[in-house]
């Protein structure tokens, strides 16, 4: 009798053990069959289809587009440092604007190599630390790898170096030609672009040499897998780097009205700050809707995934994705009321800046609470800026 029981218990244990083993193998290391790049006929809840669309139609082409602009900017920068004059400066500036705008379309992919190598830290931490930059120039050396060095590099540092050194082009050019430290300044500019190029290429080549497959095959929803990391990076980007960075901090909305207009993005160029903000916002909207960068058509993304989960306002039956898109529209309209120079807007029309922050705040709640709870994803990121 007792032996019979032991057998049965053993059988039950084996059954659960089998279930357990099945669960253990689900995850990043399952073999990767070739997947169609435009999976249109798959169920919306298929995370692999969603991740594939995101990787192949949004993230990789966005990186490739950025790289084209970025390489051009590097060429223009080299032309400028080889022969600083009005023509090369103008070219460099234009290429910098184009690249900076495209940066806004990839900053939100804070997942995989970009997260691992903290790409943003080397590209777009502002306001630029101009005193620190001048120290680095004077000493001719200095690390780019520590947090204190982040505001001394990337697009904001370039902004200072090509737009902020003087009130006229001649005055700026003089700093690269006739000034005592001209050679050192040129050397710094070269160091800067080399550093940006090195970090970006590390991320870019990682995506193109294997990470793409890792990304689409890590379909589990736990904190270590793609969907969770993607959502966390996406919400973090909107909250901290669009809402707070571009509006909350300059307008003083987050600090009891203590206005700091000089903390706007592209402070020295000034008239592109709204464009940068709009581009970043639109990139987030398009990514939410799974819009292909190649074709402009919507595919599997957060929108289709949430719809397939049936996420809706239970009292009215409105789809959560419609509610979120409506709020995205409200932000877009608010952005359209602003003038191109956000520095000036903070100085003269700050109410509108604060209103933008408030509209964005509503999006944050929906993304951070309603969207993540419907997806059963935990927000794991922490803010690390001081209070």
């Amino acid at each position: 009798m007792t032996h019979f029981r032991w057998k049965q218990i053993g059988f039950a244990c084996a059954f659960v053990g089998a279930l357990w083993a099945c669960g253990g193998s689900g995850g990043s290391d399952s073999p990767a069959p070739t997947t169609p790049t435009t999976p249109t006929d798959q169920a919306g809840s298929d995370r692999k289809a969603m991740l594939t669309n995101m990787a192949d139609n949004i993230i990789l082409p966005s990186y490739a587009n950025f790289k084209t602009k970025f390489d051009l900017m590097l060429a223009k920068s080299n032309a400028f440092t080889a022969k600083p004059d009005k023509a090369t400066l103008t070219d460099f500036r234009q290429a910098w604007v184009d690249t900076y705008v495209d940066w806004q379309k990839i900053e939100l992919f804070d997942v995989g190599p970009a997260e691992q190598y903290t790409l943003r830290n080397f590209m777009n931490i502002y306001p630029a630390n101009t005193a620190g930059i001048e120290e680095y120039i004077a000493s001719g050396t200095g690390t780019f790898e520590v947090p204190a060095s982040y505001p001394k590099q990337g697009f904001p540092a370039l902004d200072y170096l090509i737009n902020g050194l003087g009130t006229t082009d001649d005055a700026i050019l003089a700093r690269y030609t006739t000034a005592a430290d001209a050679a050192k300044r040129i050397a710094y500019l070269n160091r800067l672009t080399t550093q940006m190029n090195s970090v970006f290429n590390t991320v870019y080549s990682a995506w193109n040499t294997g990470y793409r497959d890792t990304f689409i095959n890590c379909t589990a929803l736990n904190a270590g897998c793609s969907t969770s990391k993607l959502v966390n990076g996406y919400v973090l980007n909107y909250e901290r780097f669009i809402r707070s960075g571009k509006f909350g901090i300059p307008s003083g909305a987050m600090t009891n009205g203590a206005i700091s207009a000089e903390t706007v993005e592209a402070f020295y160029k000034k008239n592109i700050s709204l464009t940068l903000a709009k581009t970043a916002h639109q990139a987030s909207v398009d990514f939410f809707n799974g819009k292909s960068v190649k074709t402009g058509e919507q595919g599997p993304g957060f929108r289709t995934y949430l719809n397939s989960l049936g996420a809706k306002d239970s009292s009215t039956g409105t789809l959560l994705t419609d509610i979120i898109n409506k709020q995205f529209d409200a932000v877009s309209q608010q952005l359209n009321t602003l003038k191109p120079n956000l520095y000036e807007e903070v100085k003269t029309n700050n109410t509108a800046m604060v209103q933008t922050f408030t509209q964005m705040q509503k999006i944050i709640r929906m993304l951070k609470v309603d969207m993540t709870t419907a997806m059963s994803i935990t927000i794991t990121y922490t803010d690390n800026d001081g209070d």
């Binding site: 279930l19 099945c22 589990a220 600090t255």
Partner: protein, 449 residues
Amino acid sequence: MLAYFRKTTSAAPLAVFRLLFGLMLFGSIVRFWSKGWIAELYIQPRYFFPFYGFEFVRPLGQYTYLLFAICALSALFVAIGLFYRVAVTSLFLSFTYIELIDKSTYLNHYYFTSMVCLLLIFLPAHAYFSVDAYRQRRLLAGTIPAWCIDSLKLFVALLYVFAGLAKLNSDWLLSALPLRIWLPAHNDLPVVGFLFNYGWTPYVFSWFGCLYDLSIPFLLWYRPTRLWAYAAVVVFHGLTALLFPIGMFPYIMIVTALIFFSANFHLTIVRKISQLLSIPTTFLLAHRTYRFLPVMAKLTVAVLTLFFAVQFMFPLRYLLYPGELFWTEQGYRFSWRVMLMEKAGYAQFTVKDRSGHQTIVNNASFLTPLQEKMMATQPDMLLQYAHILQQHYARRGFQNPEVYVDSYVALNGRLGKPLIDQNTNLANEQESFKNKAWITQFNDKIYGF
């Protein structure tokens, strides 16, 4: 009634339970330690959320490791039955102390473990097959009062029944929430994953889970169904272990349910272990019945009666509060409400004073991600945090700081809405067992328990 208290039964089930439970706890603590959670949860955080009435329980800094070491050692001593009474008391105290440090880490199965340890203090689990009995043969007893084992069974039954009753609500049964949210997250599992894309799957899980909880203690108790019931225990808890990140709980329940098995079953286990360890069989033959001293017997029965009276009533205390339990969470903890809610929230605090200071708080500079997540949806923790902020900013030069919170909470897939009245200065509110009037109305209805 009196006849029942004179009834005796084999001591083997309790001894095996002691052994497995002790080993399980020892393993849990080793696991906890090896994952680095002692530092992460009890040393690194800057602030903690003690339980109301237990504010004297403070983290011990580096000595927290010592506390865990004592706890692990006690568990091991309980398992082998060495210095049993001292060991189990020390296990209860150290384990409970750890669990009382921070609400953020509250789990029902930690509470269950604490309560079982408390019960074990009063039960003669060392009378049979223990080192104590080996060293002091006059302690050795083959039979013990039947109520000693029945009290453990009753406690396990209470847990399951209350857990089942808690599932008798409209969200769980009629909307299959929160499983409808959680299960699709596993639709990429091999073999069974596709099932989680069907709308009816969460209903099957919900109803099965509810019926399981309500019936399993009785099916385990009743001999003809016992074996199948145990198979169900293994499958059910195995599945939950597979699908949800609930740590050791499934294994603890799988082991605990063995208490329902017959004396012969447990004697077989004891014999097998003895063979393995070459323990003389004479040690296994104990005909004496364990006798409490008359005064101890009375005291123990009184303590257990009180224990069960509290255990019967405590999960029902929520009835004394107005409002929706899932929303206010007044009377939610310590009530065997397991996996009933998908609740997520966001809380942005503003601290200001009359002289014009005002700041928006960055929660991350005060709390860990886990603490922030827990705080954002639980009113009593929101209040505790508000007081932490009040004291912090008072030291920073704010005069009588006022603390307001802009909260946003989503429950079981409903759209988020404020949980706390935005105009309440939380610095002025005090924790108590009274109703917290500053929690907003839920404005929806969840029917049932």
